[in-house]
């Protein structure tokens, strides 16, 4: 009974601890307040822009701690948040629209450490401040839109195949087409069956009329939902990037939700407006053959035209139903001011298909007026179930004569404010939402509260830890010291693993660590109480140590496995804060088993092993 560890076990303890210390190391470097300057949609920030920023900061006399040139982007470190906020105002003025900036924090971790994979822990929004929103995608609307699109296709297919129909009616799940006689109906069934292979086709006779019904099969519905979600995630990601937020998170949750987390954002109102906005543009020719006022008063709208109102003065206007180009064909947009009138405007770039159409239409219509329609889904209220009621608002923001054929790039004026022009350009750039969205959860934490949470969390961990360590030394003497060493090693390992996994540390996560600290000593308490028992029944010190570790082991295993089960269940079922707690609890259980069994045994063996010991200080 020599109580000596083989060399490899001692080396293992040293190795694990050294690795732990190494990966925990990045966390002791301070975090600088910083501003990240980056191009919108992955564009490179030009050297001239970088110089401009540097000069502007010099001129304003704001001290810069470090200017990190990352090639495509620029990261500016500051010594204080006051400097950072001052600089924000300066930078906002000099940056062109294609470049965005974001307030962030940047760690001072040396390059060699980063090179070896060392990174500080991610701090959750509750610790660093920011906004978290959970977005619900309105799948019913996505399906309804698709059914409507199919309805138009059905009409044109029947028409081009010269099949006469009476009515085409869309409902929630399909399209009903009514025919006068069975022969036409059968012809239609064949035509539609060939054209819409992905839809279900049924026939039915009722009340002397003949019907074909097209339905969406489950696979098609799944595909529509998946597309709507994916498209919305892409759009929201584009919008978030355009907002200029450092380290944004846009992630799918479940089959109809999107989580957006934006650290450091200080204006939740703007974020919510941009995320949910649906504004887009449409270009149409003006119907000059009919009088709009007459049409409005008589209610007789000429076929092929639609009645709109002009935003500026509210007068009615008739536009051709056929759209020249829609927002979908816009590839890029930037806001600015019109040189002549000084009013806010948006410069629009079209894709090749849109550009071709625009050219063809405008060549034929030089001298005639063209209108720009601004379309937006606005929430106007909520129904009894709390679902938002949305109305499509469409108004004409500009009417101008076509002076010359237009191509891929042109300007649109008539917007209310530079702010509206700016947001419209942003939305056009980011693309449209495939289905309406609704914010169902929001959590915003101000930056000062985040810092308070960090301070309070750290304080309670430290004080709690200190109290437990004092107790352990008083109660278990030398063995208490071993347990304390294990406790510290355990904390280092938890931090190292959190950093390595790049898991996010939240306030409940800190609570999980605190709880682990309390429970981590449990293994040592079990072992030491066993050793005391063995000593009491007259075992020699060496035999007592051996038996103590041996007998306590299965108890420790059982106790920790059951707690681990609870932690895993918490992680898999819980959300947000509960998950953060479960992660640190689970990591803590595993690391504490190592430090409090293997770690303390190594120390015990080092001090007492292999020699004659008369009495144990326990």
């Amino acid at each position: 009974m020599l109580n000596q560890y083989p060399l490899w076990k001692n080396l293992l303890v040293v190795f694990v601890l050294a690795t732990g210390l190494f990966y925990a190391l990045p966390n002791i470097y301070s975090q600088d307040p910083a501003i990240a300057v980056s191009g919108v949609r992955g564009a490179v920030v030009e050297a001239s822009v970088k110089d401009k920023v540097k000069q502007a900061l010099d001129k304003a006399g704001i001290p810069v701690k470090e200017m990190e040139d990352k090639g495509a982007s620029l990261l500016i470190h500051f010594s204080s948040t006051t400097d950072q906020q001052k600089a924000q105002r300066v930078i906002a003025e000099v940056l062109p629209e294609s470049v965005s900036y974001a307030l962030t924090t940047a760690a001072n971790v040396p390059d060699w450490l980063i090179g070896m994979g060392g990174q500080p822990m991610n701090l959750g929004l509750d610790l660093r401040g920011g906004i978290h929103v959970l977005i619900d995608v309105d799948m019913d609307a996505a399906i309804k839109d698709k059914v409507e699109a199919y309805t138009g296709d059905v009409r044109s297919t029947l028409r081009s195949n010269k099949v006469r129909y009476l009515t085409v009616k869309a409902d929630d799940l399909g399209i009903d087409i009514k025919f006068k006689d069975a022969a036409t109906r059968d012809k239609a069934e064949e035509v539609l069956g060939n054209e819409f292979r992905n839809l279900g086709v049924e026939t039915r006779d009722a009340d002397g009329a003949y019907y074909v019904r097209l339905t969406l099969p489950p696979a098609e519905i799944r595909a529509i939902k998946k597309f709507a979600l994916q498209q919305n995630i892409t759009t929201i990601r584009n919008r978030v990037n355009a907002l200029g937020v450092a380290e944004p998170l846009v992630q799918q949750q479940g089959d109809r939700r999107i989580v957006v987390e934006l650290p450091g954002v200080q204006d939740p109102t703007q974020v919510k407006n941009i995320l949910g906005a649906t504004a887009t543009l449409e270009y149409r020719l003006v119907d000059t053959e009919h009088d709009a006022l007459d049409a409005k008063n008589s209610g007789k709208i000429p076929p092929g035209s639609r009645l709109y109102t002009v935003r500026e003065d509210g007068r009615p206007i008739l536009l051709k139903k056929r759209v020249i180009v829609t927002g979908n064909q816009i590839t890029d947009a930037a806001s600015g001011f019109d040189q002549r009138s000084g009013s806010p405007m948006v410069t629009v770039n079209l894709d090749s298909k849109g550009a071709r159409r625009m050219r063809n239409v405008t060549i034929d219509n030089v001298g005639k007026p063209m209108a720009v329609v601004f379309k937006e889904n606005r929430v106007v209220g909520r129904d009894a179930e709390g679902k938002p009621i949305k109305r499509l608002v469409e108004d004409v923001i500009s009417v101008a004569n076509i002076l010359e054929p237009l191509g891929a790039r042109f300007q649109t004026t008539g917007l209310d404010s530079p702010q509206e022009a700016h947001e419209l350009a942003l939305l056009l750039r980011a693309g449209a939402l495939a289905a309406p969205i609704d914010i169902v959860e929001e959590r915003t934490i101000g930056p000062s509260l985040g810092q308070e949470n960090i301070d309070q969390g750290l304080n309670s961990v430290l004080i709690g830890l200190l109290a437990v360590m004092i107790f352990m030394v008083v109660y278990y003497k030398v063995f208490g010291l071993f347990a304390n060493a294990a406790l510290l090693a355990n904390l280092v390992l938890i931090v190292a693993i959190l950093s390595l996994l790049q898991a996010t540390l939240t306030l409940p996560g800190i609570a999980g660590i605190v709880l682990t600290v309390g429970m981590a000593v449990d293994a040592n308490v079990l072992i030491y109480e066993r050793i005391r028992e063995e000593l009491r029944v007259g075992s020699t010190p060496q035999a007592a140590i051996h038996a103590g570790y041996e007998k306590a082991f299965s108890t420790i295993m059982d106790a920790n496995v059951t707690t681990l089960i609870a932690a895993i269940v918490l992680f898999s079922i819980g959300s947000g804060p509960v998950k953060g707690f479960a992660v640190t609890l689970a990591i803590g259980i595993v690391t504490s088993m190592f430090t409090s069994i293997v770690g303390t045994r190594a120390l015990t063996n080092l001090v007492y092993g292999g020699k004659r010991v008369k009495k144990l200080a326990i």
Partner: protein, 311 residues
């Protein structure tokens, strides 16, 4: 410091009738309160909006209430949060208003009303639908973890121990919830996490005791089940108390220093640890004894760990 272990001989099981009466009384009070008063659910579960704002000076709650009432938010609950400068405002979900815009409106009103600067510290908005989902998920988490634990203990020990440990867990959870109901303290997501952690902790405690009971059943030849359980409880008592003590030390540190947001979280855990420690001695072990565990049930089979004599 003198150690606690110098040969203790408390007759725990002899007092089990008394303990049981006490436990049943607590559980009944808890259940009665849960049924009649219910829990004060936080917005995580009910849906609604919560706004925390910080003033540069001590806040005048009456003025805040008046300003909100004057702008159509008469039902807003306004209270102090932590320090006299911080104010917490709660709004129920509303019809006809986009809920995610409520917070902006309220903050606008407060900024106008206050002469000094107002800081938006925190906004939490949870839609009613999400709230319902969280409630379901939470209840599911508690049930699933109880089931998983029941199975693990049944496999590792014996079915009577599994039932005993789950009875103890239900006892602990009920009393913790009962406390929150009785004192009408807010039950939010963090408290739910605490309740789940209590399950883990109390179980840890119970398993340690069970482990010793199993060992002693196999080792000690004299004495009936009651005596052996008593011996086991006395042998593990020192550990039970020391571990509870160290855990309570850190929890109290968290309670006092951890800030307003995790106040209820730490309180639930403190309560759970106290009740859990008590229940692993009295409830779990008494239940096992009453279910009629005997030496024969725990004699080692060929392989340890596959003991299962479910009738």
């Amino acid at each position: 410091m003198r150690t606690l272990t110098s040969n203790l001989h408390f007759n725990f099981m002899g007092k089990r009738k008394l303990a049981m009466t006490f436990s049943i009384a607590l559980v009944v009070i808890s259940l009665a309160s849960l049924l009649t008063r219910g829990l004060v659910f936080g917005i995580d579960f009910t849906g609604g909006t919560l706004i925390e704002v910080g003033y540069s000076e001590d806040a005048d709650l009456e003025a805040v209430r008046a300003a909100l009432a004057g702008n159509g938010f008469a039902e807003a609950q306004v209270q102090q949060f932590g320090t006299p400068r911080d104010v917490l405002i709660r709004l129920a979900p509303r019809e006809g208003v986009k809920s995610s815009e409520l917070s902006d409106k309220v903050f606008g009103i407060l900024s106008e009303q206050s002469p000094g600067k107002v800081e938006l510290r925190r906004v939490e908005f949870v839609g009613p639908q999400v709230g319902d989902e969280l409630t379901e998920d939470g209840a599911l988490a508690v049930l699933v973890s109880l089931m998983a634990i029941l199975m693990y203990v049944a496999v590792r020990f014996e079915w009577r121990f599994a039932v005993g440990s789950v009875i103890a867990l239900v006892h602990d959870v009920t009393i913790t919830l009962g406390f929150f109901s009785l004192f009408q303290m807010e039950f939010d997501l963090t408290v739910l996490a605490a309740v789940l952690a209590v399950i883990g902790y109390s179980l840890n405690d119970t398993i340690v005791v069970f482990d010793r009971i199993r060992e002693n059943f196999r080792k000690i030849r004299k004495g009936d089940s009651e005596e052996i359980i008593n011996t086991s409880l006395n042998q593990t008592l020192a550990r039970t108390i020391v571990t509870s003590l160290t855990t309570l030390i850190v929890l109290i540190a968290l309670f006092i220093l951890g800030g307003e947001i995790i106040h209820n979280f730490s309180l639930a855990l403190i309560l759970g640890v106290v009740v859990g420690t008590y229940s692993s001695i009295y409830v779990a072990s008494s239940a096992v004894l009453m279910l009629g565990v005997s030496k024969a049930d725990l004699m080692p089979v060929q392989k340890e760990g596959v003991i299962d004599d479910m009738p």
